[in-house]
Assembly symmetry: C2
């Protein structure tokens, strides 16, 4: 069986990462979204194992100590991170694992696992991102401005990514994303056993 | 306008390169197949500018002297080659140009133009290639054996290619090929002007 693939996806708040990733995983059963672990308490409606794996602070610190996380951050006094075991089990089974990680974390993962693929989802233009953020109507003007300022910071790092995927509409963006994954799986460097097979005829 | 792309495609005789490439170019108007130039005389039914550009030996030698060819070979006392001008005009217009070149030529093009993308079309397995070659029913047993021996030589060089595309059926192979092209166009390294746009907001 051909080994799977680790895909890291980032993009500014409001770009529609979640929707694109959902569309992609719904349509392709071999693409699985990796659920993060966190030490924070579940919010109303959040389901353990779906939104996050909710674990205790002590358990999280144990996982850090035992190098059981691909990456982790502490944010607002809570830990967030990606358990290695689940991700690598899926990859060994030939599946494609998608991680949604912010830019600095994504770049760190690439350093540690150069085989992984970094994808950045872009809005068609910056004005559209602004419109989408304001259109949500759930945030104060200050919060929107904060998110736009953060988006500008993130955009300074996009040249570290392997692929830039424009989300003008969900359908096309999900298709583009799927093409990136298929193409990566066809890369010669990822097909050593196929090459061996053909070179030993 | 985003610049185009130079794609070089190779594969053993009988693998169905021509059919896959035709399917791809028929469905995608921005993907154009580059017609080679040759000094040999047209065979019955061959059309100038469609099968080949038929030019004189003298004209071909002039083009070699003036470095007007991306690559060329002399084979059975006839020249075959790819005129630079046509290819680079299409690429400047943002189009994707497909060249069908045998393996040694393809590897030379990659050395000269590292930006180009080398794709190798593989049969699902070697037996299938044998079946397809015999199934044609147009060649002697000796000719089939010669083609299979040549295929084995070509397969020794596939690790020099960027992508391996399996042709189990034309429809899927053409879709895979299209994904490779779309993914290459999304590569960060090919989107400098897009990055500039987002970093100068």
């Amino acid at each position: 069986m051909s080994p799977g693939l680790l895909i890291v996806v980032s993009g500014p708040a409001g770009v529609g990462k979640g929707t694109v990733v959902r569309r992609l995983t719904e349509r392709n059963r071999d693409i699985v979204f990796s659920v993060s672990a966190t030490s924070r308490t579940p919010r109303q409606g959040e389901v353990d194992g779906k939104n996050y794996y909710f674990i205790s602070r002590e358990k999280f610190e144990d996982m850090i100590k035992n190098d059981q996380l691909i990456e982790w951050v502490e944010y607002c006094n809570n830990y967030y991170g990606t358990p290695k075991e689940l991700v690598f089990r899926e990859i060994e089974n030939g599946n494609i694992v998608l991680l949604e990680i912010e830019v600095e974390g994504a770049i760190n993962i690439k350093k540690k696992y150069p085989d992984c693929v970094l994808c950045f989802i872009l809005p068609p233009d910056f004005e559209e991102l602004e419109n989408r953020l304001r259109g949500r109507g759930t945030e104060t003007e200050d919060a929107v401005r904060g998110r736009l300022a953060r988006a500008k910071e993130e955009l300074q790092l996009i040249s570290k990514y392997d692929y830039l995927i424009i989300n003008d509409n969900v359908e096309d963006a999900a298709e583009r994303f799927k093409c990136v994954i298929l193409a990566e799986k066809m890369k010669t460097a990822r097909n050593k056993s196929l090459i061996d097979k053909y070179q030993n005829i």
